[in-house]
Amino acid sequence: MDNSLGEYRGQFGVSQRELAEYIGVTRQTINAVEGDRYDPSVELVFKLAAFFECSVDDLFHPDIAVETTASETGD
């Protein structure tokens, strides 16, 4: 899942290890999320957003197209 974790980490000046220790995961997990090789759990997503004091949408940009519901289209 595309994300801005690296940019936020850079802005806050924290290393992957420091962030991992604070969040309670391994450094490899932070590295895998940043490298788009691992999609984090909902809990981890919210923890990261709380750490950087931003919304989940600011951090993660999933490429998901949701179909418009029938009620919205008037069908």
Binding site: V25, T26, T29
Partner: protein, 131 residues
Amino acid sequence: MSGLLDRPSRARRLVGGLTVLGGVALAGFTVLERPLVGVGVYVATMLGVVVVRSQATAPMFDERDETVSREAAQWTLTLFGLGSAGVFPALTVAWGVGLFEWEPWSTAIALFVAVLFLTYGAFLVVFNWRR
């Protein structure tokens, strides 16, 4: 010891190394007809794993490891499933026409696979019921 475990990556490698060492020692010494030595080394390495995990200051394993483990288990079941779906019916047919005899080792493997999938099926039922 604590210095060695300050970095989670080192502790992870240590846990992995001890686990592999224990398994290889158990199998190796059993093959060499020294099963008690094998069990002794295995128990010692497993105790080592417990000590390392209890002394670690940072999480060694997390949700990504669980995901990787789940994926590995999934692939293992799939491989066993596909393998047994082809191999065991073929062996049974071969046995029926007199081209194959069930030996203790092949019977043991067949029973193991059957028990594996029965266990899997039981857990599927339980978890479906709970959710």
